[in-house]
């Protein structure tokens, strides 16, 4: 089997450069295998995050040939091998070292989101169809690739005013939970700035779990915000019904 040439970002907060490595190819090999090979044989201090190597934990995100990917699911035989394969850290997060970035901001955003709160005296029965509608959002493995490509974060750096697609998916999973009883629309509108999203669908394109982030979570959530804050009649009706903006948790 021939070798593949890699150009991998080596560096830290103060800067760095692409460093070249040669890796022998094996059948079915993925980019993460190549990174492990380099660690094991050439650069023992190459910093890479990974856990499951099976596309289930969302740890090994990076930009392969400029495309945001899970390296454990990026097959070498799907990449052109006649030129070097570049592997760089996710651009939207500060580099810690090599391919490892500081994603702690995401955990801060998550903490702002009111957790699942059942309606009072609810009966713990659910219809499978209602569950199915929400499962899509709960598949998210928190790889943060959607956050990485979202131009509101990547280009405009609106981290302080915008939650990002990952957390719109998270909120959709809570808001559409059949038994949940609080509204998060005020949070969506004010703190998480859902209005800043202009639905270019970049997030949906990179999602390794094939979650229809824009169509199934962001757009319906935008509609809820409009209902609650900009349509007085529907706001009133919703207030009479289940969820109301008045019960928002700050």
């Amino acid at each position: 089997m021939p070798d593949a040439t890699f150009k991998i970002f080596r560096g830290d907060r103060d800067g760095g450069e692409l460093v070249e490595y040669q890796v022998p190819i094996a059948p079915g090999m993925v980019v993460l295998d190549a990174l492990h090979y380099i660690q094991g044989h050439q650069a023992p201090d190459l910093a890479v995050r990974w856990n499951c190597k099976a596309g289930k934990c969302g740890s090994c995100s990076a930009e392969v040939n400029g495309r945001p990917r899970l390296t454990c699911k990026t097959r070498m035989d799907a990449l052109p091998l006649d030129k070097p394969i570049t592997v760089q850290p996710m651009k939207s997060f500060p580099v810690i070292k090599d391919l490892v970035t500081d994603v702690s901001w995401n955990y801060e955003v998550n903490r702002k989101i009111p957790p699942f709160t059942p309606r009072p005296n609810v009966e713990w029965k659910m219809d499978q169809r209602d569950v199915d509608r929400v499962q899509e959002f709960r598949k998210c493995i928190e790889c943060f690739l959607c956050q990485n490509v979202c131009h509101v974060l990547r280009d405009h750096e609106k981290q302080e005013h915008f939650g990002g697609p990952r957390f719109f998916v998270r909120i959709a999973g809570l808001e559409m939970h059949p038994l949940d009883g609080v509204s998060r629309t005020k949070l969506l509108k004010d703190d998480l700035g859902i209005g800043l999203c202009n639905i270019t669908k970049c997030c949906t394109e990179v999602c390794p779990e094939d979650i229809h982030i824009t169509d199934n979570s962001i757009i319906p959530l935008k509609e809820r915000v409009i209902d609650d804050f900009y349509d007085p009649v529907r706001w009133f009706l919703r207030k009479l019904g289940g969820k109301s903006a008045a019960s928002s948790v700050e």
Partner: protein
């Protein structure tokens, strides 16, 4: 000297942020303790996230005849009666309430037609018992616990690795570790500590386990004087991926068989008929793993040395709905469409039945203030774990450990932290940087994996185990002179150098225990002692530290009360 270090103080310190650690944290917090959780990876990435099949709990939503007694009996039978019966009883009795609790915290399970939690069949379970969410039950569980814990106010120290437990006399008083990001050292003071660090699979070359599974908790506890038990019982899951090489060992959920998948050899024969004609593919994991291994060894394996697992007789939509991540995993990593053709599967090192010896009710080890839960603890599963009993174990004994650790913290004052212990811990971590020559930790790791795989695997013999023990001890000496390159900033080579110490401790304990147990039981198969032995059926192997030596002894199992014995004979 502690002033030199960043120091954090909690009533209860929990090491590990998987299902057991998070459940323990939530309970300790509910008891009024201040709680810190330390984990090697980012929060939400622990191995629990990979659990696929479901949580075993006798809720009787699908099969009304199910109850805790049947679950108890199945668990004891699966473990070939070496289980701690009290743990098996508590587990079976409390699992349903732990699942309902998870649902009240927001977990969404698949439903029955009348809106209850749906349960599926699994190996060794008499009834349909596994509460599940497609094949991503672990993800749902960890997200639910993670959000619950964070919103209740646990402090999480992510990407922080504990390298030593600190003691004040006999009791634990804290832990020493380092931040992986900067390589900075950190000291935790705590009145009680819960080990929830999971298993040891990374000591074998073909494994479903993530890099974190290096036996840290067991080795740290052992170093601090805790006893380890049942270390010979290492579960090989029957179905890991075998091709292509890069994916070898990745788990193929038992739910494939639970949903009706059949196993065939290269001749098309449904070979489980010869190994367990009654339960067939849903026999226990030890039996199915040995069957697949034997078929391949005797020349009836697939092209890449495994067996065929086929679910393609079920409607494609059904397969995609019930086994979505398996569908994607095979399509993306192996170019196989499982709705159209069979998967190639073979055994993969998956789960550790043994671990820290604990009291059933409190999860407390023999070291005052030190508790353990989940895969890091021993007892519940005996010599073989049933699928689905792991997630329920995490919930039941995570809660119990959290409760007991918080109670302990109420009863004792803060312990002393001794400077000499911190100094030793720091020396140990810094010495690999100071050597100008030495071996690479990666090389030593590869050798350990290969030795454990070839000599301490599914089938064992005196000769192999003796060789294995010698190899582990030799690697231990070499690993004392390991060399690390680069800086302390996020350095995986440095980290592996420390992980090797844990892996070598548990590997030695596994091999010693396996040598001693001259019988075959559950996951421990001796080709030179292929039968059950009555004496060994009534005693556990115990590993403890005697200075620098590892000591092995036997301890009789406790007598089961009459009312439980009756259940087993039914």
């Amino acid at each position: 000297m502690t002033e030199k270090y960043e120091t954090h103080e909690h009533d209860v310190l929990i090491i590990g942020a998987g299902g057991a650690g998070l459940r323990a944290a939530i309970e300790a917090l509910a008891q009024g303790a201040s709680v810190g959780v330390v984990c090697k990876s980012l929060l939400g990435k622990a191995h629990t996230v990979m659990a696929e099949g479901g949580i075993a709990a006798a809720m009787a939503n699908v099969d009304p005849a199910d109850d805790w007694r049947t679950h108890f009996r199945d668990t004891m039978r699966g473990g070939k009666f070496l289980n701690n019966w009290r743990m098996a009883q508590l587990h079976a009795q409390e699992a349903p309430e732990r699942v309902r609790e998870l649902e009240r915290w927001g977990a969404l399970f698949d439903r029955t037609s009348d809106g209850e939690i749906l349960q599926r069949a699994f190996g060794g379970h008499t009834f349909k018992r596994l509460c599940h969410v497609g094949d991503r039950t672990g993800l749902e569980m960890i997200r639910t616990l993670q959000d619950r814990g964070v919103h209740l106010g646990i402090d999480v120290y992510m990407e922080c690795a504990i390298t030593r437990l600190l003691k004040d006399g006999e009791r634990v008083s804290g832990a020493f570790g380092y931040w992986r990001e900067q390589g900075r050292f950190v000291v935790f003071k705590a009145k009680s500590i819960v080990m929830a660090t999971g298993g040891i699979g990374k000591a074998w070359s073909i494994t479903s386990n993530s890099w974190e599974y290096t036996g840290d908790g067991m080795a740290l506890a052992y170093d601090a004087g805790a006893e380890l038990m049942d270390m010979e019982f290492v579960q090989f899951h029957p179905t890991g991926m075998v091709w292509p090489p890069g994916v070898q060992g990745i788990l193929v959920t038992e739910a494939v068989r639970g949903e009706g998948g059949v196993l065939r050899n290269k001749d098309g024969e449904r070979f489980m008929e010869r190994y367990d004609p009654e339960k067939m593919e849903l026999s226990t994991r030890d039996v199915v793993a040995r069957a697949i291994y034997t078929e391949a060894k005797e020349g009836r394996g697939t092209e890449h040395g495994g067996a065929y697992l086929d679910i393609s007789h079920k409607p494609a939509d059904y397969v995609k709905k019930k086994l979505p991540s398996m569908y994607h995993q095979f399509r993306e990593l192996a170019d196989v469409d499982i709705t159209k053709g069979p998967m190639e599967v073979g055994p993969t090192c998956h789960y550790m039945m043994g671990g820290i010896r604990v009291a059933a009710e409190t999860a407390q080890s023999n070291v005052p203030g030190l508790f353990a839960a989940g895969e890091a603890a021993a007892g519940l599963h005996g010599s073989n774990r049933l699928g689905g009993n792991s997630l329920s174990d995490l919930l039941v004994f995570g809660k119990r450990a959290g409760f007991a650790a918080a109670e302990q913290a109420k009863q004792v004052g803060p312990g002393q932290i001794e400077d000499t212990q911190i100094y030793e811990a720091e020396r140990e971590m810094l010495s690999p940087f100071e050597r100008t020559e030495g071996e690479s930790p990666y090389q030593l790791h590869r050798e350990l994996q290969e030795k454990m795989h070839n000599l301490v695997g599914i089938f064992r013999s005196e000769e192999d185990l003796e060789q294995g023990l010698a190899a582990v001890r030799q690697l231990k000496q070499r690993s004392a002179n390991v060399q690390v390159e680069g800086s302390r900033l996020f350095n995986p080579g440095w980290h592996l150098a420390r992980d090797m110490k844990s892996m070598l401790t548990v590997s030695e304990a596994v091999t010693l225990s396996a040598l001693a147990r001259k019988e075959s039981r559950g996951a421990h198969s001796r080709i030179d002692y292929p039968k059950y032995d009555e004496t060994w059926g009534k005693q556990n192997n115990i590993i403890s530290r005697d200075g620098e030596e590892m000591r092995l002894s036997q301890s009789p199992t406790s007598e089961m009360p009459g009312e439980l014995k009756v259940l087993l004979s039914e």
